[in-house]
Amino acid sequence: MEWETVIGLEVHVQLATKTKIFSGSSTAFGAEPNTQACAIDLAMPGTLPVVNAEAYRLAVMFGLGIDAEIAKRSFFERKNYFYPDVPKGYQTTQLDSPIVGPGHVDITLDDGSTKSIRIHHAHLEEDAGKSVHEGFYDMSGIDLNRAGTPLIEIVSEPDISNSEEAVAFAKKLHGIVTSLGISDGDMSQGSMRFDVNISVRKPGDELGTRTETKNLNSFKFMEDCIALEVERQIDLIENGGKIKQETRLYNGDTGVARSMRSKEEANDYRYFPCPDLLPVEIDDEYIEAVRSTMPELPSARKARFISELGLSDYDAETLSSDAVQASFFEQAAATASDAKLAANWVMGEVSAHLNSDEISISEAPITGELLGGLIVRIKDNTISNKIAKDVFEAMWAGEGDADSVIEAKGLKQVSDTGALEAIVDEVLAASEAMVEEYINTEESKRKKKLGGFMGPIMKASKGQANPRAVNEILLKKLNERL
């Protein structure tokens, strides 16, 4: 009998606030170590936390984005454990009264069907600092710049059945948080990190023992790690072994996973309400104010792309999922006044170049507006589709906007009738045999013969002749000879 996989995700999302959740230190990424760690972040004696209003607002907005219940009263707890990147010796988090209650995220599967993944809750907490293991001989260096960065931890129900669904869910969440502007979603900088709980069972059996693999920071790593862990668990059970409840680490670069600690070694976190912080209370008015400033969600955007821009369901789904991509597309479509062409280009050339360069759309060397400018020149016949690909290539390489590339490379189509007539005359004069053949062909089949003249004409024009104009002139000249 087949095995069934049961997966639940815990997703840590860094919130896009200017300052930390409990202090006025900057959260900007990439600063020199410990230059953005103030007395509160360093847990200096006598310091006290005060909650960042924006972190709270963004968490509430996330809750609204997944149709979740918002807790009118929530408070923070201390989760006690010693680790050098946790300077207070506890993490301030939420256990009993998370800000976001049950909600759901609907994912679209490859076969076009949708599946609803339930969200158990999402809570606010502070991020830890970082340990640096290289460059300090037999010591580790501790950088607390990240300590206190606001996070929401989103905890799903174990509704996910395979790695494809897990990735679809993760991408959907990524689309939601980036669309709402809650997070920059930059996984390479750790803005979004996934912990995956995995177990296997025979259909109908009780849930199997689960393992948790922590801190996966790309969709690809998550996909690979799930495949690996599912295989490991099935192999183990089929060979008479037992799954141990444990926390595991997966190294995406080497593709190797290992056990970090077993349940027996697990900490007793001794949660209790943080006495330095009071309960946060919000009312309906607050919630409605947040709702009224909410940016468009991917689902709403998709509907709009279909109804207002006339995109197909597939194109709309693809282009609406990622906020940056959606806005890139919208800029291109608006500049070009052509949504369909813009969609084709974004999903075609742009997407292909991003893949081959292994970069995200936010790092793309061109903007949606620039792409739109290129499409304008296709539509007004300045360049052909074929030439447009060359122009795109040059734009991607940073050679400027479409017009300057066309100008610099002299790629403008020749539509000037006089110049084209001269070229056509020249080619016809040099191709007397083909002209004879055309004349002698019966009328219904003559059209096919036109293609033979096009090659030499385009060659003579260095590819810049406007094919439609050439076609017209050619027909006129040949018909004069009939």
Binding site: N34, A37, M139, S140, P275
Partner: protein, 93 residues
């Protein structure tokens, strides 16, 4: 409370209690717990726990950077630093 209980608590609290002291510590904590155990006689049915003396709610802080870099001043207090990092014996995950 015996030695092994104390050892577990000491591990949680990252304290080192020597064997020669363990019994003594166990005894004194047993005494404290005997005092504390008077709580068990209280009727607290339906009483909600009280974490704060006042029924106040949390004020929220504006999201404005107020903290300048003071690394030098803070790290002057640190036992061991290098290249702006606090140093600890190698961290093994």
């Amino acid at each position: 409370m015996d030695r092994s209980d104390i050892a577990k608590l000491a591990e949680l609290a990252r304290l080192q209690i020597s064997n020669e002291h363990a019994d003594e510590v166990a005894q004194s904590i047993t005494d404290v717990l005997a005092l504390v155990d008077q709580l068990q006689a209280a009727n607290t049915e339906g009483v909600s726990p009280m974490a704060h003396p006042l029924d106040a709610v949390q004020r929220l802080r504006a999201d404005v950077v107020t903290e300048p870099n003071q690394r030098e001043a803070f790290q002057a207090q640190a036992p061991a630093t290098d290249k702006g990092h606090y140093l600890v014996p190698k961290v093994i995950d």
